[in-house]
């Protein structure tokens, strides 16, 4: 396993948000974590990348327990987190955003060419202030920026948020391409349908606990999941 979460509990103040949760991600996989608004999906990602400290449990990444490691050091060990709402530095240019994505390394021309071939739109706009990009372009920038630290594992929080269906589709295709080139993906989504279609396996989260865990194919045909998350009655 590249990522192994064992008995994780996270509290907000006195209120437990995540209770005794365990999940795994194997190298090369796309794993989807789906669930309703407020189920705790974002909280799990934040605990993995070190933005919040868990109350109990372990987060084993690449053989090391990182549950209490500072977030900027976790990035150095090969994990990248694209936060909810993309977290673009709106005051910096597209190029400067990419430069920050490669903060832990040296940004090479080859890196930029790779990003620009993945998202040609970013090449056209490299000198533009990132705050002026459209939602889809910002998501492209956020993903590219996260790839520049050369992660083994990338955490994506709601990449489809606020995007038109057509753009969502192309973002998900890109996620698959990134995965095929060797990066493991943990994907958090409210758009369960889209997430399960691109992922290998899925976890369903309900108020801080995992209720279903199966291959994405099986989850797509599971009656309970279909009723709750795929809009069927």
């Amino acid at each position: 396993m590249i990522l192994s979460i064992k008995n994780l509990s996270v509290n907000y103040g006195l209120i437990p948000a995540i209770r005794n949760l365990s999940m795994d991600v194997a190298p090369g996989e796309i794993v989807a974590l789906i669930g309703a608004n407020g189920a705790g999906k974002t909280t799990i990602l934040r605990a993995i990348s070190g933005l919040i400290k868990p109350a109990a449990g372990n987060v084993i990444f690449d053989g090391q327990d990182i549950a209490h490691v500072k977030p900027h050091l976790i990035v150095r060990s090969g994990m990248s987190h694209v936060p909810e709402r993309r977290g673009i530095f709106a005051n910096l240019t597209v190029y400067e955003n990419l430069l920050m994505g490669a903060y832990t390394r040296k940004l090479l021309t080859g890196d930029l060419e790779e990003v620009y071939s993945l998202f040609p739109r970013l090449a056209e706009r490299k000198k533009q202030v990132a705050g002026t990009l459209s939602g889809g372009e910002q998501q492209m920038l956020a993903i590219s920026r996260a790839l520049l630290s050369r992660p083994k594992l990338i955490l994506l929080d709601e990449p489809s948020l606020g995007l038109a269906p057509q753009i969502t589709k192309s973002i998900f295709e890109t996620i698959q391409r990134i995965n095929k080139s060797g990066t493991t993906v943990l994907l958090v989504e409210q758009n369960a349908q889209a997430a399960l279609k691109v992922s290998h396996r899925g976890y369903v989260l309900e108020v801080g606990e995992i209720t279903h865990s199966d291959s994405s194919q099986a989850l797509l045909t599971n009656d309970a999941v279909r009723k709750a998350y795929l809009g069927e009655h």
């Binding site: 933005l51 900027h72 977290g87 530095f89 005051n91 910096l92 400067e96 920050m100 832990t104 920026r145």
Partner: protein, 301 residues
């Protein structure tokens, strides 16, 4: 008429560039940590005293006034950096996740501590700041005076601001500083060591205060432990006027405030000298609370 106008511009620029250098420290720390570092004015005061003692010790050994001035400026900058970093490390960093108000109150506490500490160590009586370079006029006639000290003040300030601009725009550290000031959490997710960037910000802000304190001492050679209070308040007004958090704003705000004071003293009355700064503060808060170059950050929902 014209001479008087030009003279006021010269005086105002010299005064304003000192405000600008101090204002930059306020605005940069606000940019990354969203609180007003009230101790900044006392770092300025300590810089002046640091320069005072350094000049005393060094003057027997260095006869060239320009080299002595440079040594004192650099020494004072280094001293202020040491003070600034110590304050951030022991007073502010433990409060990183605390509410902003707690940090603000701590900053006021640190400021009061330094002022009273200064009075114990240096005594409350004003000291005469040594004239590192002898004053002589560069330009005289038609009632216009430009002396070498005014020129030094403006040139050094502008030079420092250009260096700062270059750092912030074109170096990786500077871009990281802007990233941290926009969103410290996401900066963490990029692998940026945010505590280091914050220390770097304090380094720049404090060193500018150190340089400003020597430039101030050259122009107004009387220093005392409460020296920072008025300069600090004025520089703070300049930072708010320009838009707190905006580097360009602090630079412009400082110069504008210096000019406004100079013109008020000449055309209205010298008793209004201090009132003008606070008048500007009230007006800007009423009509453009974000400041000249500031923007309110809208939360997207």
């Amino acid at each position: 008429m014209l001479q008087a106008f030009l003279q006021n511009i010269i005086n105002g620029m010299a005064q304003g560039s000192v405000y600008a250098l101090v204002a930059l420290g306020y605005t940069m720390v606000y940019g990354v940590l969203q609180f007003i570092n009230f101790a900044h004015s006392d770092i300025f005061m300590l810089g002046a005293f640091g320069g005072f003692f350094l000049a005393k010790w060094l003057s027997p050994f260095i006869s060239n006034p320009l080299i002595l001035l440079m040594a004192v400026v650099i020494g004072s900058m280094a001293f202020c950096v040491a003070v600034g970093l110590t304050i951030e490390r022991i007073a502010y960093r433990p409060l990183r996740t605390a509410p902003r108000l707690n940090v603000l109150i701590t900053a006021i506490g640190v400021s009061l501590f330094l002022e009273n500490f200064g009075q114990i160590i240096f005594g409350a009586d004003p000291q005469v700041f040594p004239s590192l370079i002898s004053t002589h006029s560069l330009l005289e006639g038609e009632g216009l005076v430009l002396n070498n000290i005014q020129l030094t003040v403006v040139v050094v300030s502008v030079l420092l601001m250009l260096i700062l601009h270059w750092i912030v725009r074109h170096t990786k550290l500077g871009i990281a500083m802007r990233a941290v000031s926009f969103d410290i959490e996401v900066a963490n997710l990029m692998g940026i060591p945010t505590d280091t960037i914050i220390l770097f910000t304090f380094t720049i802000g404090s060193s500018l205060a150190g340089a400003a304190s020597i430039l101030y001492g050259l122009s107004y050679p009387k220093i005392e432990p409460l020296l920072g209070m008025m300069i600090g308040l004025k520089a703070f007004v300049a930072a708010v006027f320009g838009g707190i958090g905006s580097i360009m704003g602090a630079a412009v705000g400082g110069i504008v405030l210096g000019l406004a004071e100079s013109f008020t003293v000449y055309y209205v009355s010298s008793t209004f000298r201090d009132a003008i700064a606070f008048g500007i503060l009230i007006l800007i808060l009423l009509f453009r609370p974000a400041g000249l170059f500031g923007t309110f950050r809208r939360e997207k929902v």
